[in-house]
């Protein structure tokens, strides 16, 4: 009995406990975790919003001419194929080790997803609807704002959901310049003696954050396009 107890104690001493989930880690480091989460949310929202603001005019432009759309779609494939670590490395000499490097990189990735979906949305507007609006005296601007964009909203939102979920995942790589949100916790946990509680907490928060954004956007799409309910 004594032998058993002492051997158990030795095992514990050699193999210090490194649990996957530890409430005391979360309690003791709530400030750090929340700060990382805030940074992650900030990176994601800023990148997707800037990406959307740039993508809309590009999509409108791309619809006008085949050459422009081929150029935009071709370059977006190239940008999307460049690995995130390489993208940040390309940007770092110009934007230095600041949060700008991460934001510009994330904007580029969200932009290429959004421009494709926005273009598909605009192209999906039925010709009859456009003709009817034209017949009712709609000019190009009113046509775009009051007819085409509302009709394309479901496709726009599908693009926003994909872009947001992948931006949440990509933002973790920002740790390479020190601004990776939850990615900072992942890598510092790894470098800190393989601190499992910190790594698991950050990984789970990443997934939950992606799901929360996805749900929020799905709900907004439902509220904004009451006519498309029932057709998923």
């Amino acid at each position: 009995m004594a032998l058993l107890a002492s051997s158990a104690a030795t095992v514990l001493a050699v193999d210090a406990p490194n649990p996957w989930f530890s409430p005391s880690y979360i309690q003791g480091n709530a400030d750090t975790i929340l700060a990382a989460l805030r940074e992650h949310i900030f990176l994601t929202v800023v990148a997707v919003v800037i990406g959307a603001v740039i993508a809309l005019p590009l999509a409108v432009l791309a619809r006008r001419s085949k050459t422009v759309s081929a150029a935009i779609l071709g370059s977006s494939t190239i940008i999307y194929t460049i690995p995130s670590l390489a993208m940040f490395a390309f940007l770092a000499p110009f934007t230095k080790l600041t949060i700008k490097t991460v934001i510009v990189g994330l904007v580029l990735y969200s932009l290429v997803i959004l421009v494709r979906n926005f273009l598909a949305g605009l192209q999906g507007v039925p010709a009859e609807v456009r003709e009817a609006a034209l017949g009712m005296g709609y000019g190009p601007a009113r046509m775009l704002l009051l007819v085409e964009i509302p009709m394309a909203l479901p496709t726009f939102f599908a693009g926003l959901r994909i872009a947001t979920v992948s931006t949440v995942a990509l933002a973790t790589v920002g740790v390479i310049v020190g601004f990776g949100g939850l990615g900072n916790l992942l890598i510092s946990g790894f470098n800190n003696n393989f601190f499992r509680a910190q790594i698991a907490t950050a990984a789970v928060l990443c997934v939950l954050l992606a799901l929360a954004f996805d749900l929020l956007l799905a709900l907004s799409a439902r509220l904004l396009t009451p006519w498309s309910r029932g057709r998923s």
């Binding site: 460049i82 690995p83 670590l85 990509l170 990615g183 890598i187």
Partner: protein, 233 residues
């Protein structure tokens, strides 16, 4: 000297390529890890996807797997794997990357099989083809473009993710980039980024060409679906 000049000088110095753990070693390491991981993923995912696609079972599972895998950052999984008994190093990286590569191959192959015209399958059955003949002579040839899209997506994603392994003690071309960030060596940074980007683009180009080569004649003329990889890298 400019950053760009530093990068060009670095890439043009033969010693940077040929020394131990130089660029050439890292490149070979990167390509080997990626190739083995993609190959292993294909060996696992293709039979399952063919079975699912042929029988129409497992559709919900396949869709759920691809959606969930999109929400999980590859860096997070790589880090989590590194602190499990799998550990880190090239073998562990290969296992982790193979797991990442399964969902795109599985989903695309499954969809390719399900999109085969039901009338064609009925005709094949009526002609007396056995299930195995239907799979190998009807469904597989028609699903080749979709299967190749899955393989290309997986391969490009694996090449990209392999660079992240350097952040958690792995090898490959991420190592010089990680080193350059640590040393604030902008020339090396650009050189490393250039090599990784070229490798990813080459992977994409080679697999597009391969897809064209292995696609049976008539399917080649079908409009190529514009499909963007939605998996994260």
């Amino acid at each position: 000297m400019s950053v760009l000049g530093d990068a060009v000088v670095y890439l043009n110095d033969p010693l940077n390529w040929t020394r131990t753990n130089g660029l050439l070693d890292r490149l070979i390491e990167h390509v080997t890890i990626s190739g083995v991981a993609t190959g292993a993923a294909a060996l696992i995912a293709l039979p399952i996807a063919i079975w699912f696609g042929h029988t129409g079972r497992g559709g919900g599972f396949t869709v759920a797997l691809s959606n969930v895998s999109r929400a999980v950052p590859t860096l997070a999984l790589l880090t989590v794997f590194a602190v499990t008994p799998i550990g880190f190093g090239n073998k562990a990286t290969t296992i982790a990357l193979a797991l990442f590569a399964i969902p795109p191959i599985l989903t695309n192959t499954y969809v390719g099989f399900r999109e085969v015209d039901r009338d064609i399958l009925e005709a094949a059955g009526a002609m007396g083809m056995s299930p195995l003949q239907i799979i190998t002579r009807v469904e597989l040839p028609l699903a080749v473009p979709a299967i190749m899209t899955g393989l290309r997506t997986a391969a490009v994603q694996v090449v990209a993710t392999a660079t992240l392994a350097a952040l958690v003690g792995g090898g490959g071309l991420g190592v010089p980039i990680n080193l350059a960030f640590g040393q604030q060596n902008e020339g090396l940074l650009l050189a490393g980024a250039f090599l990784v980007a070229v490798l990813a683009l080459l992977t994409e180009a080679v697999l597009v060409l391969l897809a064209r080569l292995v696609t049976p004649g008539p399917s080649r003329r079908l409009p190529r679906r514009l499909q963007l990889r939605t998996e994260t890298i």
